[in-house]
Amino acid sequence: MATQDITGRIGRVAARVERVRARTPMQLAWRQLRRHRVALIGGGILIALFAMALFAEFLAPYSLDFTDREKFFHPPTAPRVVDEQGRWQRPFVYGSELVELGLTRYAIIPTQKYPIRFFTAGEPYRFLWLLPTNVHLIGVDAPGRLFLFGSDQYGRDQLSRILFGGRVSLLVGILAVSITIPIGMVYGGIAGYFGGRVDNIMMRMAEVIIAFPGFYLLLTLSAVLPSNVGCTTRFYMIVLILSFIGWAGFSRLIRGFVLSLKQREYVLAAKAMGLDDLRIILRHLLPNTASLVIVVATLAIPGAILGESGLSFLGLGVREPCASWGNLLSAGTNLVNLSRYPWLLIPGGFIILAVIAYNFLGDGLRDAFDPRLRTG
């Protein structure tokens, strides 16, 4: 009885010790990552940006296509709390009118004050594509306009378009990489596992894609796209192009890693047990590349984002009336517009923010998974 009790206790203690000790590599990496301040900042920025894109309809004062033809190239409307007599008031914006057409100069009308309202009624939309509603986080009453980031040549609110454009710019990276990863993993896995002639031929083929200067190939491929398709189709085509360019470099990385992995005992054991090659690759080799894949994928997403925004900036990517951060920025290519309406540069800040956040997170993940790869 007593001995049994003691063995039971030892067993429980041992189990507890086991629970403490046995951490999967993922758990270890997560512990590391939580201590990496820069990576957490990056992750936080990304969560905020994705939330912005997800709830764009609710957060944006206006819809994607809302236009006020009389307020084109309107400078950002600054919220004020002190009126012209120096009295404190709840936040409001002044109304404005065009006073000089040639220079697009607007003057404030001191008598027109529009209080900034929260959770106010605006254009109807479906919250998360489901719930029909017209509540917007922020807005002003109708003849007044709340252009916090200014407006473009058609009088569309830039803030709203940036929020909606974030959907394209953020999604393009995720989608492109999620196509690249499986292709690159399987291709690189097969090449690395079989080695020899198979490896030689497969890698020669991948090297053809790698050999191209990336952006030249991107430009040429985007010119192949039919120009008479809708926004969404074009968006998916851009994703395909980006993955077409990306898979090869990725598969080369995986191949190199698999080449070293396949000498390990567990692979030899699996072979000795008579597992077929495909199963060894899919079940034993590729899962062990997971840490490498996560790091490389995180660092590849900003590349795709930059590719899309570059193309859209040049007018070869996502086109009007759709918005992406790149094509919003293209309004600034015209030097006259740029010099008069500098707020057209704001979308570029969002590109940098997203890319920098991914780089922060990617570097943190790399340090967490493999301290040897540390760059400081």
Binding site: V208, A211, P213, T333, S339, G376
Partner: protein
């Protein structure tokens, strides 16, 4: 070493054939050929268009067109530009020097800045200057060149310090030789600083990481234990070894000399190869696109080869044969 280089060059042949095949196919996929546009022109009659089609070999099956194009490329004949009505090589040639000027100037500036600040950051790891430099370099690698280009153009407009866009002023032809050089240099400031910023950011991070790695090595400890001055330890022992891996990067950058500035050139109006390829892509000027694509690829491949050779030449631990 010579055998290694010869083998690498032999390996490049199937690679370049593959590259040419892909560029040819991609451009062929492009909807509508340029003759469609000429056909719409009421001045040109149908017989002329057919004759042009025959002259250009566009009536032949695809594989014959490809073989013909490949054969002419080997003679450095890249075909004819439809839009400009001049040989493609002539067009590329007129832009090549401009792109090289821009890339080389920014490359030299970048290396001159990046190495010292990389050393500075590594020797003062986690100091406020290191942290600041790290942060700035994050911004550097995350900023698309078209955005930093636009930003600097705006600054140039507001301050009037630099000319906005282009490579030369209107009165360029009337200037003296010195004046011409100065004029181009003034126009070079914006695009070169944009490119240099990007390169410095990447290079500095690499230099810092390499040096930190080297500083952990035993021979550095030995050097310090010998009582050498810290300056000597860093400059004579550590930096030399830390720079070595950068040679590979240098090779990549050599390869990227032609392709690295594509969007920036069109933003700041620099008349280079990148702008040419963008214009030709928009105009569906097939042979110009294929020619520039091939040229860019060859430089990239040769750059990689140069990188490997330089690395082997500088580091006796690496043997290829």
């Amino acid at each position: 070493m010579i055998r290694y280089i010869a083998r690498r060059i032999m390996n490049m042949i199937p690679l370049l054939v593959g590259v040419s095949l892909v560029s040819f196919l991609v451009v062929q996929l492009s909807p509508g050929d340029f003759l469609a546009e000429i056909r719409l022109n009421p001045v040109v009659d149908a017989a002329t268009v057919d004759r042009m089609r025959e002259n250009l070999g566009l009536d032949k099956p695809l594989y014959i067109q490809y073989v013909k194009w490949l054969a002419s490329i080997l003679r450095l004949d890249f075909g004819y530009s439809f839009a400009y009505q001049v040989p493609v090589w002539w067009l590329i040639n007129s832009r090549l020097l401009n792109t090289l000027l821009l890339s080389i100037v920014s490359l030299v500036i970048a290396w001159l800045i990046a190495i010292p600040i990389g050393i500075h950051a590594a020797t003062r790891q986690y100091s406020w200057s290191d942290n600041t430099l790290s942060f700035v370099s994050y911004i550097g690698i995350s900023t698309p060149t078209f955005f930093s280009g636009l930003l600097l153009l705006y600054v140039a407009f507001v301050t009037g310090w630099f000319p906005i866009g282009g490579m030369t002023s209107l009165e360029f032809d009337d200037m003296s030789t010195v004046g011409k050089v100065l004029d181009v240099a003034r126009h070079l400031v914006i695009p070169a600083s944009v490119l240099a910023f990007l390169t410095v950011a990447g290079l500095m991070r690499q230099m810092r990481a390499n040096l930190l790695e080297v500083l952990r090595q035993d021979y550095v400890k030995t050097a310090r234990a010998k009582g050498l001055a810290e300056r000597v330890v860093i400059n004579r022992h550590a930096v030399r070894n830390a720079i070595n891996p950068l040679i590979t990067i240098f090779g990549f950058e050599l390869g990227g000399l032609l392709g690295g500035a594509a969007i920036l050139e069109s933003v700041v109006g620099w008349p280079g190869l990148g702008q040419l390829i963008l214009d030709s892509v928009l105009r569906k000027d097939l042979y110009v696109v294929m020619g520039s694509l091939m040229l860019g690829t060859v430089t990239l491949v040769v750059g990689n080869l140069v990188a490997d050779v330089l690395l082997a030449a500088s580091d006796p631990r690496i043997r290829y044969d």
